[in-house]
Symmetry: C2
Subunit: 406 residues, 2 copies
């Protein structure tokens, strides 16, 4: 199936592309001694692009990296877990700047080529002694097989490290793209959310990469919801160092399309992994909306359904909550024509023309017992479609988020 | 305190104003035999106004009553529980029309003077034999002390009937206003939400009453959230029959203001009662936003905080989730300046100027243990303010909404 897509899945995560090293160390920011500092480094200067949280309250490292990425080049990404450095005021900004400066010095780079991100509890100052020790150690330990250590070091409530890579042939050379990601939602008390780092050894202009990254994030990380809250720290970085074509190479339109598809595959799969690892959930819900006037309208309807606690509780309980699904569709700000509305749970129509359809309860129960349930809403207006991934809402989710300790 | 407001709380609910009768009977729509059909009747023709759900998916009785109320007069309100008559297509519209016609015939009224509402499971056809029997019985049992029977008959998952009334002196006469309400959110599987019926014996034009009703609903029922979902059936009716001033009377501006305040007191108190009776909740949260650029902005920020599952879980767990509160404020679409943001839990500042404030954990724990917790967010932009009422999110809420049986 991969080959049919024109690329193959390979191991190696962020280190799969040529010229990238990584490391992940424990410097004591996490009280339990787990790894908490990741570094990704490109041996050449790379094009850099980033997408940040749309929450108005942005953490210090987000504000700083947003400045640094404007230059369009980058060599290193440093991510700490165990502390989000968010809502830490001026001191937090200074700490983020020191974090950049220390990494730049350890790696012999100008500070503008260092991007940083932080994830963990909000509103606490970074322990800079520990952090600086960790940066020094991580720089010393950079190696071509450090990808999984790095992926582990960015974890917070994640139960396993998430990384993925693909290779394909472009311009007569094997080129690669790799990524690591963490976090699915603000699912931990005062913890900040999702971080993703993507590397590739193709040569890309910052402008092209920026456009691709925005689009692939829109189709992946912006289509998942565990609790509906956008965090203060959400960050996706991408570096492209051109190492696959040392003599330079300009991709054809077909090759660009292939690489873009591989990027979307990476981000889409990682986004799904983040949802599945959402704390306390028992089911993955895929909400598909077809027949909207536009894709944007379809997204809004799908988001409204995916964000409904009542829908999410129904799926936890294994009950066919189509009344809730229709009500949630109607509560979106997109005009919905009830007479043209159909709802499918799995392959079974439960609503057609706005009215319930007789179904065999056992058929529906069998679908609802699955770990992945697809709900399709046909709006009957046009050709716009979209999907949204979410989880069920469970008592364990509530207990988890009601505790400060986990 | 009531007298300082210019009016006194009295008993009698919707029957407190002169010339109103009510009844509540059991006709078998609820399987457990509880009362399920309420009727409120005015001995004179009354001005009528109504506010309906903003959900695009509107139940048949909503569509029909929206037409009937356009005439500006009404004599009777008929509400059944046990079945929402929502998503029932053309047959549902016909059933609603038969419900109106039957009540009109029983009461000797033109159908345009009958308003109807339904609440209960979505997507099931009404059992018209039972309903029509109930209408006949309810019409026969109308009496000046039937208010509590009526309030009981509109209950679904409510644990107690909710009614309230007040009296004041206007134009040398004692005038009264009364109300009953049910339901707090779409808290039951496929159950439709809130219904409120308000009566007064003052004479009001439909236009004035319509404006007042919209404003008072905006400040009360539109400021509560249990699960964030708007239902297909939300309805607020108001009838004003002028019986207090048989010879007619035109209120002064001060008297209008007094009556409007009494209306807002009724709707505000009933809205709070609905939130408190929200299934599975343990705490009432009052989110206050001050210092926004406008009241509308303040509402949007307050709604974003009140709608955050993470905030609601934190309060269930008794943890000071101010990081979540700030993130939720930042996730609203209203510009928020972090440097000017303060958050208070009860009377204690926990965030000032966007940074955490040292507090004694025991002080905060004492506040969080209360049944009613007030969170104040100061935005530091202008004079706009608003509040929103919500509940904590609990495992019991999830279990309740994951079950089809309760």
């Amino acid at each position: 199936m991969m080959q049919a897509m024109g690329f193959d899945r390979i191991l190696g995560g962020v280190c799969a592309p040529k010229g990238f090293l990584a490391s992940g160390v424990s410097c004591g920011l996490k009280p339990d001694g787990r790894r908490d500092l990741a570094m990704v480094y490109s041996e050449n200067t790379a094009s850099a692009a980033a997408v940040f949280t749309t929450n108005q309250v942005k953490a210090a490292p987000v504000l700083l990296s947003r400045e640094n990425v404007r230059g369009g080049t980058g060599r290193a990404v440093v991510v700490n877990s165990g502390n989000a450095n968010a809502m830490t005021g001026e001191r937090g900004m200074e700490d983020a700047a020191v974090m950049v400066a220390a990494a730049a010095e350890s790696l012999g780079l100008p500070p503008e080529e260092v991007l940083v991100a932080s994830t963990g509890p909000i509103g606490r100052y970074l322990d800079m002694d520990k952090l600086l020790g960790g940066i020094e150690q991580a720089a010393a330990e950079l190696n071509p097989g450090g990808n999984t250590d790095a992926a582990k070091s960015i974890m917070t409530t994640d139960t396993y490290p998430k990384e993925l890579a693909a290779e394909m042939e472009i311009g007569g050379e094997v080129v690669r793209i790799g990524a690591m990601a963490k976090g699915s939602g603000m699912i931990h008390p005062m913890l900040a959310t999702m971080i993703c780092v993507i590397t590739t050894d193709v040569n890309l202009s910052p402008e092209t990469m920026n456009g691709w990254l925005r689009q692939s994030v829109e189709w992946s990380f912006n289509r998942i919801s565990v609790d509906g809250d956008r965090s203060t720290n959400d960050t996706v970085f991408m570096l492209a160092n051109g190492s696959a074509h040392p003599g330079g190479y300009t991709m054809s339109r077909e090759e660009e399309s292939l690489l873009f598809r591989a990027l979307c595959w990476l981000t889409g799969r990682l986004a799904m992994a983040l949802v599945k690892d959402g704390e306390g959930s028992t089911k993955l819900l895929r909400i598909v909306v077809n027949g909207a006037s536009s894709d944007e309208d379809a997204v809004r309807i799908a988001r409204s359904i995916a964000g409904s606690n009542l829908v999410k509780c129904a799926f936890y309980g294994g009950i066919p909550g189509w009344g809730r699904i229709v009500a949630a569709a109607g509560a979106s700000d997109v005009p919905v024509d009830l007479d043209n509305l159909s709802v499918f749970i799995g392959e079974y129509a439960v609503v057609q023309g706005g009215a319930p359809v007789e179904t065999d309860p056992e058929d529906i129960a069998r679908i609802l017992a699955r770990e992945e349930v697809e709900v399709t809403v046909e709006v009957g207006k046009g050709a716009g479609s979209a999907y949204f991934l979410t989880t069920d809402l469970t008592p364990r989710y509530v207990e988890f988020n009601a505790s400060d300790k986990s």
